[in-house]
Every structure is written in structure tokens, then in C-alpha cells.
């Protein structure tokens, strides 16, 4: 118990927990739109494809600064998206195959480059490995400041374009016809998604980052039928998972933060899928039983089994 209090008053822990919470919050909000647009897999593609960008940035620019490495990630993430679009458009390969192809090719390249980099002197301190599984403990105060600025900007955009994003997500063609160009809105939403993923690379890592987008949103959808409630709930779920995951990884030695956060987020998903009223599994089983009982038992309550 004393351990815990000590941990919570620890400055480093506070910074890291704050960073993870922020990330969870932003990805929770943006993730709602990814899930509702049925583009959950694209996030997975982008996050995996960001890895070679990180390593390339280090090789070419020789910098260990997070901003530089993340800029590399952004470039290769966007490049992979473009490549997927081009493949779908100009070949007969379908979207899911194109995504799987590009994503594994990029991630494979990233891993290969990473082994190559290990042989360069001065490279072991660069800590590039942290972008695979994430290591929130490497977050610095200025990383948090950067995340804060990005986060506030993104939330402001979502708030400002709330009605437009809602319309576009529900009915793209109708949006286009009444004067909200779907190409522009699509580009903006996709860009926000890519940005969140890049922001999360250091904390959660390339492999699991897409879970941060999808899990809180899927869980939130279970509890409500209103978009704004879903978005707020998703933000809360994301933030809670961020803090809980950071806590777990601080308590258990060698437990990387990324997986810990994702496990927490998916605990919330499991609970939501099972227990949420009206959409939850248990409720539906119960309702089915009730209907069957009504039909068979002329209104009497028939004891189950």
C-alpha cells in the first residue's frame, strides 16, 4: 500500500500516466469515427507501416529526438495509405488484401532495418525498439506538452466540425450533395486518425496502437445510442485504460506499457460486450428467453432449466 502512494506521488509516474491518459482520450474520440466508418483496419495498417519511417528517420537524419522520429513515422504511415489506395485503384487487388500486403511489407521492412541499425555504433541508446511495443516511461515532459497541443487542436476540430463529421460518417453521398465535399472531410478525418496513431507510437507501440482507436469506441457503442455520448464515453474509457495500464506496468517489472494499456482497454470491451443493457450479450440472451417463455408459458413465468 505504501508502495502505491509512493508511486502516485512520483513525478515520473504522474507524467507518464498523464501522457497515457491524454493519448487514450484523443484516440477514444477519433476512434469512434473510425469504427463507425468501418475503417478500423486502416488504423492497424497505418500504425504497423509507421515503423520503417522511424528507423529511416534515424538512419538518414541521425537524430534520436522523438519529434524527428515521429515525423519519419508520419511520412511512412501516409505513404502506406497512399500505396493502398493506388493498389486498390489500379490493380484488381481488393482493399483487405492490399491492406494486409502493404502493412506486413512495411512492418517487415521496419524490423529488418531495426536489426541493421543495431550494428551501427551509437545506435543502442537510440531506443528504437520502444516503438514496437511502446515504452511510456520514456515520455518526457515536452512530449506531454506536444501531445497536449495536438490533442486540444484535434478536439477543437472535432467540435467545430461536429455536424459535418456526423453527417459524413452516416451518409457520405448525402453530405456531398448538400455541399460538404466528402473528399475533403474524408481527408481531414483520415489525417486526424493517422496523427493520433503517430502520437501513440511511443506510448503504445506500432503493433497495438490500433487497439487504442478501436477498443474504447467499440466498448462505448455498447452503452449508448447517441453519438455524442458514445464519443465522451469512449474518451473516458481510453483515458482510464491509459492510467490503469501505466499503473500496471509500473507495478510489474518489465511489463511494457503498450500491452498493459491495451489489456485494460479490452477488459472494458469484454465487460461492455457482456453486460451492457440492450446491446449486451447477457441482456439479449435474457430477452430471448423471456420471449420464448411468453410464447410457451401463456404469460406464466416459467423457471429456467
Amino acid at each position: 500500500m505504501g508502495n502505491m502512494i509512493e508511486l502516485f506521488s512520483n513525478y515520473t509516474f504522474q507524467i507518464v500516466a498523464l501522457g497515457s491518459a491524454l493519448l487514450g482520450l484523443i484516440s477514444g474520440v477519433i476512434g469512434c469515427f473510425s469504427v463507425l466508418r468501418k475503417q478500423s483496419l486502416l488504423g492497424d495498417g497505418v500504425s504497423h507501416s509507421a515503423l520503417p519511417g522511424v528507423v529511416m528517420a534515424f538512419i538518414i537524419l541521425g537524430s534520436k529526438k522523438t519529434e524527428v522520429l515521429l515525423l519519419g513515422a508520419l511520412v511512412s504511415g501516409l505513404l502506406s495509405t497512399l500505396l493502398i489506395v493506388v493498389i486498390v485503384r489500379y490493380t484488381r487487388v481488393k482493399f483487405d488484401s492490399a491492406l494486409a500486403l502493404v502493412m506486413s511489407a512495411f512492418f517487415g521492412l521496419g524490423l529488418a532495418l531495426l536489426t541493421y541499425v543495431q550494428k551501427i555504433p551509437n545506435s543502442n541508446q537510440a531506443g528504437l525498439n520502444r516503438f514496437i511495443f511502446g515504452q511510456a516511461s520514456t515520455l518526457l515532459q515536452r512530449d506531454i506538452a506536444f501531445m497536449m497541443v495536438c490533442g486540444v487542436t484535434m478536439l477543437a476540430i472535432i467540435l467545430l466540425l461536429w455536424k459535418e463529421f456526423k453527417l459524413f460518417t452516416f451518409d457520405m453521398e448525402f453530405a456531398q450533395i448538400i455541399g460538404f465535399p466528402s473528399k475533403g472531410l474524408n481527408l481531414l478525418l483520415s489525417f486526424l486518425t493517422v496523427l493520433v496513431i503517430i502520437l501513440g507510437l511511443q506510448t503504445v507501440g506500432a503493433i497495438l496502437m490500433s487497439a487504442m482507436l478501436i477498443s474504447p469506441a467499440v466498448a462505448a457503442r455498447q452503452w449508448t445510442n447517441k453519438l455524442w455520448v458514445m464519443v465522451i464515453l469512449s474518451a473516458v474509457f481510453g483515458a482510464v485504460s491509459g492510467v490503469a495500464g501505466t499503473f500496471a506496468s509500473s507495478m510489474i517489472p518489465k511489463l511494457p506499457t503498450g500491452p498493459a494499456i491495451v489489456v485494460c482497454a479490452n477488459l472494458i470491451v469484454s465487460i461492455s460486450l457482456l453486460f451492457a443493457p440492450s446491446r449486451g450479450l447477457l441482456f439479449r440472451v435474457y430477452q430471448r428467453k423471456r420471449i420464448i417463455n411468453k410464447i410457451e408459458g401463456d404469460g406464466r413465468d416459467v423457471p429456467t432449466s
Binding site: E173, G179, N225, K226
Partner: protein, 250 residues
Amino acid sequence: MERQENYIVEIENLTVAYDRKPALWDINLKIPKGQVMAIIGPNGAGKTTLIKAMLGLIKPVTGTVRYFEGNVDIHTLKGKIGYVPQTESVDWDFPTTVQDVVLMGCYGKLGWFRRPRKSDIELVKQMLQKVGMQEYASRQISQLSGRQQQRVFLARALAQEAEIYFMDEPFKGVDAHTERAIVALLKELKKHGKTVVVVHHDLHTVLDYFDWVTLINMRVIASGPVKEVFNEENLKKTYHNSDILLRSLM
């Protein structure tokens, strides 16, 4: 016979292709203002494609679509065009209510960034009344039946307060009661001087429901007042003799 008509849409040499396969070939078509027009043709004839090309949703290979005599750019017309898509075109499990969906019809008038006002909500309520869905305003859309979905989309289009309406098979999957309600709406729109273009399937009702008809099968077979062009010869050309539908009709 020279006809003096006022045309709201003029299509010239329009060709649309998917994956290099032509879907519409050299379409020339004029839609008269203030009329209720049906677009009919067999499955895969390009009816929906034609509507989408007119709405600027599909980029044609060649050709132009002109609105209101000369105004080519569809984006300047956004307030004047109403649209009722096929209900399957959206995911009805989206977390929102009936009222919210109909409210989307007001978004065009509001423009960027502005939130709906009280007067918009009032308008939405009126439109829901018109389609007989006023009791469902706060209902979650995933709970609607197919015909209720159709009514919601109609109300949304009405809330647009447009000049010309495009409807993609509004009669598909509706019961007789809803069908009559939709026909009454079409008549009312016409009374207010609006133009309505409807993709239609049921040949039996063309004579009763519409003033004007366009028969297409990749090309325009015929287009004109129902009484003049809705005849056996044109139908045979459109449906290539083969359709059992035709025999039951004639």
C-alpha cells in the same frame, strides 16, 4: 410538333463507365420543370448511375449536366437539390435518432460550422408529420422497419426544401399504405412547382403516378410525357422482349 417546355436539367452526351465497362452510353436527356418523372428500365440498365451522375456523385467519362439553364457547376446548387437514396445505402445501426437524421436535411442551408436552430427543429417536426412519423422523432434509427426508414429519408429530403428531388426507388419494400402516402407527397411537391425524378420499378403504376417517363437501358430509349412514350414498342426496346413483366402488363 414543337413543344414549349421549361427544362430544369439538361444532359448532353453523357457517358459513364465503371472499370472501363460503360454503364451509360451517350445520354441526351431533358427533364421538364415542375413535372414528376419516372426513370424505368431493367436491372443493370443504369438508372441509379444516371441519378448519381446527375448529382455529381459519379464523374462521367464525357458529357455535361446542366441545371437551371446553363448553371453547370453542381456545387453552387447544393441548396436546390433534394435526394432520397436507397435505404440500404447507409448503416441503420448508426447511433442517432429519427429526428437527427431528418435534421441533416437542414445542414445544407446552415452551411459550415453553424449548429441547427430552433426553427430547424420545428421544420423537422412538420416534415415528420407529413410522412406520418411524428411519434417516432426520438426513436433510435436501428429500431425502424424498412418502410419507416424510407419515410425518414423522405422527411429528410423534404426538410431540404429543394427545387428538384431525386429519389432512388422510394417504393421499394414499402406496403400499400406507405406507397399511397408517398404518391400523395409526389403530388403535393408537384403542386408546389417542384420537379421530382424517381427511379421506378413497377411498370403497372407508371401511368397513375407519373407525368413524364424516361426509359433507359444503357442508352435513352425514349423520354417524354407518359401518354406519348409509355407504349409497347418502347417497352419492348427497353426490356428486349424477354421480360415476363411485359406480358403481364400488356
